[in-house]
């Protein structure tokens, strides 16, 4: 299926005009990130508005995970500013950062569920750690979120007993159990078959409708990006090629974007010297 054949599905989008007036929940200004001496992100700037779904798209190795980890405060940028809900992530105190993190939720690529806890306990964990609610109330809240992600009835299973799609659902439920203002999803469709992956996309749209949060999704799947995005940020080799609506990205005349859309990737490197050089560079 070619990229242009993808049609709009799911709930209607909020018109862009309305979004423009919305304040930013995430502001990234001139962000530079290094791994060792290797510069991965080159002076990136980006805004995510209240209530929108921003998809960060790019080929493998383009720096998507690095950008996400910087937004999450897991990787410290060399320079530049990351402001989450108006607060400078790298300038605030530990206590303030902990408080800020209660207003954001993250669904990791592999789920990152705690293997020693069952599904319900996993989803309850943020509540346990950050609220003084009694266990009954926490159970009810966690169960409600499990219903939202269609996992009702699976409370007592251990993560190792779940299928790939169920793990993603549980991870989403855990990410939103504190009703965050911002939800981050890393590669929600990676490793899933198309049907399950499409269901997860629907779920992300449903959660935005139901909870009205801003959502940042990192993905390399075009179909998924086009289906859920209000705006797409196209990342390539650590640079932002463009930020725009689905139509704008599709209609772009930029050659690299067209290559990405048509899945024309760079020729695989088969020169051993060149390959080894890259390997050592990556390991520095």
């Amino acid at each position: 299926m070619s990229a242009t054949a993808v049609v709009h599905e799911g709930p209607a989008r909020t018109p862009d005009l309305e979004l423009v007036a919305m304040p930013s929940v995430i502001e990234v200004i001139d962000l530079v990130t290094h791994y060792g001496s290797r510069e991965i992100l080159h002076k990136i700037s980006l805004n995510v508005r209240q209530g929108e779904i921003m998809v960060i798209m790019g080929g493998s190795g383009s720096g998507k995970s690095t950008l996400l980890n910087t937004l999450l405060g897991l990787v410290r940028p060399t320079s530049g500013i990351v402001r989450i809900l108006g607060e400078d992530l790298n300038a605030i105190s530990d206590v303030e950062r902990t408080r800020l993190r209660q207003k954001t939720g993250v669904a990791f690529q592999g789920g990152a569920l705690f293997s020693s806890l069952n599904v319900l306990e996993n989803i309850m964990l943020p509540l346990r750690e950050h609220t003084k609610l009694d266990v009954q109330t926490m159970r009810i809240m966690a169960r409600l979120k499990m219903q939202v992600v269609n996992l009702a009835g699976f409370e007592n299973l251990m993560p190792s007993e779940l299928s790939g799609g169920m793990i993603k659902r549980a991870a989403l439920a855990r990410a939103v159990v504190m009703d965050p203002r911002i939800l981050f999803c890393d590669e929600p469709s990676a490793g899933l078959d198309p049907v399950v992956s499409s269901a997860i996309d629907d779920l992300i749209l449903t959660m935005r409708e139901a909870m009205g949060m801003s959502i940042v999704v990192v993905t390399h799947e075009l179909e998924s990006a086009f289906k859920i995005a209000d705006r797409i940020c196209v990342l390539d080799k650590g640079n932002i090629l463009m930020v725009g609506s689905v139509e704008e990205v599709r209609g772009s005349s930029n050659e690299r974007i067209q290559n990405l859309l048509n899945r024309r990737t760079e020729a695989e490197i088969l020169d051993p010297d060149e390959y080894l050089k890259r390997l050592t560079a990556a390991n520095d």
Binding site: L72, Q109, G110, F114, S115, L125, H130
Partner: protein
């Protein structure tokens, strides 16, 4: 040739720096754990009693069978060897002296330390390594849950309590094992054996052993946690660092033990 040597020195230099970095990491871990014990409540992130209790059961209670079995065996072995050596001087009944002086000071802490390193140190490294590659540590951090407070501190508390406790148990079992064999071989009664032990073993000896055991518990935890946190790559990386953690903590135990013995016998 000269280039080779320079390369070698360079690599040796780098691994020295890495080793120093790991020492530093251990100090930071210890400091952070203490911080969370003291400050956790004020930061609304208390160290969980439940988690600590679970770790205690895992480290202590579940290790009892193997510790008991090994200790009784070593007690008997010490008695056999002691009697055999002392027979040369016709001083077999002095075996109680040997047993009483070596068990609380040396064999109890050492055997317990080595067993706990193999059992708990390795599982700690494996657990943390697996959590790292599954991004569970990242998940904790972005949830605003400090992983040191959540994982390391309970383990550290459990080890500081349970390793000395296990050591004390191991010493009693070793002395019983030795007493049983001495009774069998030399016909010494339990009452005579215990009387003789009470003359020989001082409170200081026992405390010396328990202090060492506490230190071993802390070392094993820190080495396990650091190796787990340094895991790279997939399951293979976890296996590698798990093995490394056992080897390193046993080395740390034996070297510390030697230093303790040297200092204690001088003063």
């Amino acid at each position: 040739m000269r280039q080779r040597f320079a390369d070698y020195m360079d690599r040796a230099g780098r691994s020295t720096i890495d080793a120093m970095a790991e020492f530093g990491l251990g100090a930071v871990l210890l400091w952070q754990s203490l911080f969370w014990i003291v400050m956790g409540h004020r930061r609304a992130q208390p160290v969980r009693i439940n988690a600590t209790f679970e770790r205690c059961v895992e480290v202590g209670i579940q290790a009892l069978p193997i510790i008991t079995l090994m200790s009784v065996t070593i007690g008997i072995m010490l008695a056999i060897q002691g009697i055999y050596s002392l027979r040369v001087f016709g001083a077999e009944d002095q075996v109680v002296l040997g047993v009483g002086m070596s068990v609380p000071r040396e064999f109890g802490p050492l055997i317990t330390g080595i067993l706990v390193a193999g059992r708990t140190g390795s599982s700690l490294a494996a657990r943390i390594g697996t959590m790292k590659i599954n991004q569970e540590l990242d998940a904790l951090m972005v949830m605003g849950v400090n992983p040191i407070r959540f994982i390391v501190t309970p383990a550290l508390i459990a080890m500081t309590i349970m390793v000395p406790a296990l050591t004390f148990w191991s010493e009693i079992v070793m002395l019983i094992g030795a007493g049983w064999y001495i009774g069998l071989d030399l016909g010494m009664s339990w009452a005579a054996y215990i009387d003789r032990l009470r003359e020989i073993v001082t409170v200081d000896d026992v405390l010396h052993g328990l202090k060492k055991a506490t230190l071993f518990g802390i070392f094993i935890t820190l080495v396990g946690v650091i190796n787990g946190a340094l895991v790279k790559g997939g399951a293979e990386g976890v296996g590698k660092m798990t093995t490394r953690s056992v080897v390193l903590s046993i080395c740390a135990i034996i070297v510390t033990d030697m230093i303790f013995a040297f200092v204690a016998t001088r003063s």
